[in-house]
Structures are given as C-alpha cells and as structure tokens.
C-alpha cells in the first residue's frame, strides 16, 4: 500500500521459543481509527509494542511515513502511546506530566503553557494543572495520559487497552470521548482491545487477531455481519455456528432442513459452516417454520429476551423482543441474507491461518 501511514511487513516475533507473531502484514491509512481485536495472547499488544519501539521484531520491518523505523528507539519515533494503567509520573503534578515531552524537546515556556491549557481543555479537565495524579479518578488519569501524549502532536497515537481499568459507564463515555478526540485532532489511532463492543463502537477498521495471525480485516459492519471464519463469528458477538452442507448455489442444508441463502460459488454438496446471529433467528408458529423446536431456556436481558430453542438436535440461541415461554413449540425461520456461509477449516491450524488480502 503506497499512501499508508504505517506498513508492517512480515513481522515475526517469538518469546522464549513461543511464536507470538508469524509473518504479520498490515497497513494503516492516515487518519484511520484502527482496532486490533483479539483474546489475550493473540499478539495484539506485541504488535503495538513493536510499533512503539518497546520490542524489536525478530524478522520484518516497520515502515512509518515511508521510513524504516524498525531499529529506532522509542524516543526517536514520531508517535506516542497511551498505556494500559495510565503510567502517569506520580512525582509530578498534572502540568508537569503533560509538559514532560515538550520540555525534553526544549520548547519555550510560553509554548508549553499554551499546550497544557489546550490539552486540558480538550480532555475536559481545565484547572487541573496543579493536582497530583494520585488525587484523580481512573477516568481522569486516563484523560491526562491522553493529554500528555497528544501535546507532542504525534502523527499516530497508540492506545493499549486504555479503558480496561474503568467501570462500564465510564468506559462507554470514554468511547465517545475518544471518537470525538480523534476527529478533532485528525490523527491516526491504533487501539488495542479484547472488548469486541469497544472495537465495533469506535473503529473505522477492525483487525481481528488470534494466535499471532490476522483472522479478518474489515469495517465493524463487515466483521460482524460477514465473519470469514468460525473464530471471528464466535469472538465477535453471540452466534449460532452450525455445520451444514451447501446443496447448490443459494441453497444450504442445515440440520437436515433446506434454507435459502444468498451465497454462491461454494460448489455442490460441499460441507460448510454457517453463522446465524441470534437476533436474526425468527420464531414463528410451528407450521410456518423451516425447522420446528421447543423453547428450553428463557432469560430477560433488558433490551430483548434471550431464548434457547432445541430443534433438530441443535440448541439455537435466539434474541427477540417477543417472549416465548419455556416449553412452547415454535418454528424457526431465517431470512436468506442473514445466513453467512463459511468454508470449513480442514484442521485446527488452518483455522488460525492468515486470511488477509
């Protein structure tokens, strides 16, 4: 990719003989909010640390604005990091924390004071200059950590699970805050998280990772609605993943019943996996359904009811605003475009193989 801000080329990294990243290739466009999403140990944090300069890859190159920065120490890189537990300098007050990077660069006092005021305003903490970090709440400390990073005017801001230590309500507020910040600053964010909701809410691009490989790259809608494999489907949101047979183009046999779908080109009588999101399963009266079953569990979740329906030997997860009591006989129907067909992985290994490009 030519006009990319960052290019990761063939990054390989192992610790103590354990492979963390294997030939990872990724480009990040200017002004993009890109999220690396995956379970712990998937290599997302290592990728971020390689970008920040805290780890060196065993193989591969980090290209930033067309320059190879693979061997550059962190202090020579024109990017900044917001760390997981804020990592504020506890022996300095808020103003000194924010000024740290600027003082190192020998900026003038007036410039630094202007920047401090601007940054505190940006994160809605005006007047906090002379407070100590310990006297701030977690959310406030995280804002200061962001302010401390952005006064240096980096082209790229790396965020390592910055909301992980905050409670749910605060986390949701900060998600909107981060989107606003990114738009106001007009810089590129690379965000690391294991929280799929965070990733879907904030990102322009989501990179789903597992076991050191990229599983899928796409927009939030893309990775949610059209997961490329069972891992992505399972990791992002709730889903029914069922083994099935592709009878022919646009017709799939699931649990012995034939469903119309919109996918083509999988061949005839080919075993596949299908993903059906729980909110896409329609419960109808038994004579209208493609498959019939019995409701076995019912939970009220607030926005919707969550039900489990035993039908043709599979426990279907169903989310609906209409409640069906346990024991009810129901029919199951799925709209053709809500059935997502995926190739079956031939082995465990293939499940984790890069599906990039």
């Amino acid at each position: 990719m030519k006009n990319a801000l960052v290019n990761l080329e063939g990054i390989t990294k192992s610790f103590d003989g354990q492979m963390i990243l294997d030939d990872l290739n990724l480009y990040i466009k200017e002004n993009e909010f890109l999220t690396l999403l995956g379970p712990s140990g998937c290599g997302k944090t290592t990728t971020l640390r390689i970008l920040g300069g805290f780890e060196k890859p065993d193989k591969g190159h980090v290209i930033f604005e067309g320059q190879d920065i693979t061997n550059l120490p962190p202090n020579k890189r024109n990017l900044n990091t917001v760390f997981q537990k804020y990592a504020l300098f506890t022996h300095m007050d808020i103003a000194e924390n924010i000024a740290f990077g600027l003082k190192i660069k020998n900026k003038s006092k007036a410039y630094i004071n202007d920047k401090i005021r601007y940054a505190l305003k940006l994160v809605n903490l005006d007047g906090y200059e002379h407070r100590m970090p310990d006297s701030l709440s977690g959310g406030q400390q995280q804002r200061i950590a962001i302010a401390r990073a952005i006064v240096n005017e980096p082209k790229l801001l790396l965020l390592d699970e910055p909301l992980g230590a905050l409670d749910l309500k605060l986390r949701q507020d900060m998600q909107y805050e981060l989107i606003r910040l990114k738009n106001e600053l007009g810089i590129t964010f690379i965000y690391v998280t294991h929280d799929q909701e965070e990733a879907l809410t904030m990102s322009d691009t989501v990179v789903v990772m597992n076991q050191g490989y990229i599983q899928q790259i796409g927009t939030p809608e893309n990775v949610y609605n059209e997961p490329e494999n069972a891992f992505v489907a399972d990791f992002i949101g709730d889903s029914n993943i069922i083994g099935a047979t592709m009878i022919q183009d646009r017709l799939v046999e699931i649990l012995g019943a034939r469903f119309a779908c919109v996918d083509e080109g999988f061949g005839e009588n080919k075993p596949v996996d299908v993903v059906i999101r729980p909110e896409d399963v329609e419960l109808v009266s038994p004579d209208e359904g493609v498959i019939n079953g019995t409701v076995t569990h019912l939970i009220f979740k607030g926005v919707h009811y969550e039900m489990e329906v035993m039908a043709n030997g599979f426990e279907w997860l169903v989310q609906s605003t209409r409640m069906q009591p346990v024991g009810t006989q129901v029919g199951i129907r799925v709209a053709p475009f809500n059935i997502q067909i995926m190739n079956k992985p031939e082995s465990e290994d293939e499940e984790a193989v890069g599906v990039n490009e």
Binding site: G52, P74, N75, Q84, A87, F89, T90, F100, K105, N152
Partner: protein, 270 residues
C-alpha cells in the same frame, strides 16, 4: 482486644531490653560517679581524643555509605530487570553470605588481607606487589561496604521493583533518552529507597567497633571503640553513656531525614 494481647510478649521484650537499657544510658550519661546530675560526660565529646574519633567515624561511615550507594543502585537495577526465577537465584547468591555470622565474615577479611594473608600469598606467587591495607582506614571501609551493602541494595530494589515498567516506557515514548529517563523518572521515584538505604548503612557504620578493631588492628579508634572501651576496659559507664547519647543524636537526625522522605512507610516496612 485479642490482637493487642498477642503483642504482649513483644512489648514485654522491648520494654525489658530496649526501653530499660535506654533509660539506664540516659541516667548514667547525665550523672557522675556519685549519682549527681552533670553534663560533663556529654561535653567530653569536645576533648581532642573523642572528637577526633567521632570525626573519623563520621568520615569512614560517609565514605562507606557513598560506595555502597554507587555499587547498590546499578545492582538493584539489574536485579529488577531480571525475570523472577533467575531473579530469586541471584538474590540467593547475594544474601547467602548474610546467613554467616557477621564477626566471622569480618575475621575472614582479616586473614585475607593480612601481610602474610591469602591475597598477598597469591600476589606474591604471581610476582605482583603486595597489598598493604590491613590496619588502615581503607581496610575498615572495605569491611563496612562488604557487611552493609545488602542493607543498601534491598530498600533500593524494593522501590525500583514497584515502579511500573510502563512509567519508564512512557518517559521513553515521550522522547526521553535512557539517561534523561533515569534522571527525571527513576531517580526521583526511588529516592525513598535511597534514603532508607543510606540510614541502614550509615547508622551501623557509624557505630561499629568490631570492624574497626578487627580490620584496623586497634590502631584506628572510632567513636564506637572509645565507647566500648569506656564500658569494658576503663569501667567508666558514665562517660561511655554520655558519648553514646551524643552518637544517638546523629542517628536520630539521620532517621528523621529518612522518615520525612519515606512518608508512606513503604520502604521501611521491609
């Protein structure tokens, strides 16, 4: 209530062996042989013999403390940088000598450093000039550094290991080179450990009489030696106590500084 009861044996112990002796030192120090009140024992520090010994002790304790600090800080940093199982092995090697008796270790240095000792034997065998530091201040400083180094390393290690690695990373990320990171982040954050280490080395070094006697050959008298002689040889408990009180002032001064810098009490909870 029950918890208070549990502390009774310790309270009894400390009353009997710390509080009572301390009161006795003050009683003897502030009275003469007839039991009448006097400041003479304390003012005796002004005599040339005593003030020279105090000055000498302060000087050697200071030099030892500085050397300990210079050796201990890098060592503590290395220990912090290691992963845990390697770490504990190095710590073990490091504290292994501490399990041996203090007197024994000091006497071992005596036989190592003697004119006809082990080190000179090896140097002579290699036709190298011999090392003549036994019975000099240098030998005493060596003994102090050897014996008290762990007391400097441990408090510094204790603060360094608690500093979040990402704080160091953040400084680097914001443009600081390794030296700036050390100066502006690591050093200020580890000050409580440094002050605690200084106290833990300076105080025993200032008051020692064993190291100076064994490695100084009785030629170099430190204030500790003078006080010891007043109690054991001259049998003048009043003078010995008076000089002890003077020495205590220096120790209290040092501990106050340490307490002020370590407000959280984290380090001294060691």
């Amino acid at each position: 209530m029950n918890r208070k009861l549990l502390s009774a044996p310790y309270l009894f112990w400390s009353a009997l062996f710390i509080l009572v002796p301390l009161c006795m030192v003050f009683y003897y120090g502030l009275t003469d042989k007839t039991g009448a009140f006097t400041l003479e024992n304390i003012l005796a520090i002004a005599t040339p013999e005593h003030s020279k010994a105090l000055w000498e002790a302060l000087k050697l304790a200071f030099v030892s403390t500085v050397i300990c600090l210079l050796l201990a800080y890098p060592l503590a940093m290395i220990l912090c940088g290691m992963n845990s199982h390697k770490d504990s092995f190095i710590v073990l090697i490091f504290i292994l000598p501490m399990w041996m008796n203090f007197l024994l270790r000091t006497m071992a240095w005596q036989s190592l450093l003697e004119k006809t000792g082990v080190i000179n034997g090896i140097l002579g065998f290699l036709h190298l000039p011999s090392l003549n530091i036994i019975n000099t201040p240098a030998a005493i400083v060596l003994g102090m550094v050897y014996n008290f180094l762990p007391f400097m390393v441990l408090p510094i290690y204790n603060v360094l290991v608690k500093i979040d690695k990402n704080i160091v990373n953040a400084a680097r990320d914001l443009g600081a080179n390794p030296f700036q990171t050390f100066l502006k982040i690591l050093l200020p954050l580890s000050l409580p450990g440094i002050f605690s280490g200084i106290t833990m080395v300076f105080v025993p070094a200032l008051t020692t009489f064993v190291i100076s006697r064994v490695l100084g050959g009785g030629k170099i008298l430190l204030i500790g030696n003078i006080i010891e002689e007043e109690f054991t040889k001259t049998d003048n408990w009043n003078l010995g106590s008076g000089l002890s009180i003077v020495l205590m002032l220096f120790i209290i001064f040092n501990m106050v500084i340490s307490a002020v810098t370590d407000k959280d009490g984290e380090v001294n909870a060691l």
